[in-house]
């Protein structure tokens, strides 16, 4: 069973359908109690960092999230769900985030007017470190991205995938123990994205 945290940060339909298509049962919840009992957790989200943090606070989800990560439950952050795991984000004039991963979230900059921000589309992920979620996926495979801010991961040991866009070569995938996080959308990344979700579904959270 995959438990998807619903903290009102965007549409969860595609994440749910992607897991169901690989034969997983899915529960969508905003209940701290259900999150604390979960076997595997997916923490998705689109939108702005501040709104995401505000919702996590008002739904009393911050402590349950810290607890399941500390307890070794396999945990997958996607897009904003990755970004809020860092210490802070430049978005909305500076937003304090969860600080579970070290580093901050910065805005893309470019002087080239044809380098559009947000980055929208398929970009390559260079696998900088072996990880169970990449099993059976070729290095430099392309995944679907939509974002204006990127994670600047300060602990290089946590970077497992890297992508280049605008002024940045950023951590498009990060891993720390039972925690894994991706900036791209595996649920929108076709067969290769489904493979990553399947790997997560089969992962025991150990590296």
């Amino acid at each position: 069973m995959i438990t998807i945290i619903d903290y009102k940060a965007g549409n969860l339909t595609s994440v749910k359908l992607a897991f169901e298509s690989i034969g997983q049962k899915v529960k969508i919840t905003d209940e701290p109690r259900e999150i604390l009992q979960a076997e595997k957790i997916v923490f998705p989200g689109v939108g702005a960092a501040k709104a995401a943090m505000d919702n996590l606070k008002s739904l009393n989800l911050i402590e349950p999230i810290r607890k399941v990560i500390a307890d070794g439950i396999p945990f997958l952050g996607i897009c904003i769900g990755m970004q809020v795991l860092f210490e802070k984000s430049e978005e909305d004039g500076g937003t304090e985030c969860l600080g579970i991963l070290s580093g901050s979230v910065k805005k893309f900059k470019s002087n080239d007017k044809l380098c559009k921000i947000p980055q929208m589309g398929w970009n390559t992920v260079k696998m900088t470190k072996r990880h169970a979620i990449f099993d059976g996926i070729e290095d430099e495979s392309e995944f679907y991205f939509v974002h204006s801010y990127y994670p600047a991961c300060s602990d290089k040991n946590n970077i497992i995938g890297q992508t280049e866009y605008a002024d940045a070569a950023f951590a498009s995938a990060a891993g720390k123990g039972n925690l894994v996080a991706v900036q791209f959308h595996p649920e929108r990344s076709g067969r290769i994205g489904l493979k990553l979700l399947e790997n997560f579904s089969n992962w025991d959270g150990k590296c």
Binding site: T13, S14, K116, P118, M120, E142, R188, G190, G193
Partner: protein, 259 residues
């Protein structure tokens, strides 16, 4: 490197994909869900569905088709045509579409772009525009006028001014569908595409006129498009997406290679 997207366009009417030239003489091509799966498996980067209606007479969007597509393909897809209000947007997005595209509706009610962007995020809101070439003038400094309702009605809006305004309202992407080139397979409207692409900060998708490899190469290099919509060239079976992508890669265009 961010790759250029190839986006098949499926015009759906009464559960069948159709294709016409300049919105006329439509022929039936197949089932929308089956075609979506075939193109996704074939390596397209995204899909767009226009006018998903239950029948030609009844205009509401056939939300069941959107749900079935979302179950069957796991790449982004957009739905356009037939969106009348915020509730339609919500239904389409909650059924599993990544984006909704507004065209005529945005001309009569530009605020729908701002409302949609605020509620669902800019990345979900696509402005579709159908410009036609006109004499450059004070009223039309870009030399293109926006038409609506399947090219039938002129609006008096300048294409570039409208694109910039939509960006300001919160549109996340603009599809530029040339009235003059649509369905001709004689090449994209390069000047129009480049004009919009160089003057807005959001991605621009070229549409209308793609018929050969060279047309796609031109629209990505000279036209500066971030993505291109194709229809006739693949619907007829003349080219596969694999063939198209191999040719673009050989020409040095950044293209998604693994799927």
């Amino acid at each position: 490197m961010l790759t250029k997207r190839i986006i098949p366009c499926l015009d759906v009417m009464g559960r069948k994909v159709t294709k016409g030239v300049k919105f006329q003489n439509n022929i039936e091509l197949g089932d929308p869900v089956e075609m979506a799966v075939a193109y996704s498996d074939g390596g397209c980067d995204e899909l767009v569905f226009y006018d998903i209606t239950a029948s030609a007479q009844e205009r509401p969007i056939d939300i069941d088709i959107v749900r079935e597509v979302a179950k069957a393909v796991h790449i982004p897809f957009a739905v356009g045509g037939g969106i009348k209000n915020i509730e339609d947007m919500r239904q389409v997005l909650w059924a599993g579409a990544e984006k909704v595209s507004v065209n005529s509706l945005a001309v009569s009610n530009p605020d729908i772009i701002a409302k949609g962007a605020k509620l669902f995020g800019s990345q979900c809101i696509v402005l579709g525009m159908d410009p036609v070439k006109v004499e450059k003038s004070g009223k039309f400094p870009s030399g293109y006028e926006i038409t609506i309702q399947g090219f039938r009605t002129r609006t008096g809006l300048d294409a570039l001014e409208w694109a910039k305004r939509a960006e300001g309202l919160g549109a996340g992407e603009i599809v530029v569908n040339s009235v003059d080139a649509d369905g001709t397979q004689a090449g994209f409207e390069i000047n129009l595409t480049r004009l919009i692409a160089e003057n807005v900060g959001i991605p621009v998708v070229a549409s209308g006129g793609g018929g050969t490899y060279q047309h796609l190469i031109d629209v990505f290099t000279e036209g500066k498009a971030d993505a291109a919509i194709i229809a006739s060239m693949i619907h007829t079976g003349r080219f596969t997406i694999r063939q198209i992508k191999d040719e673009l890669i050989a020409a040095g265009i950044p293209i998604r290679q693994k799927w």
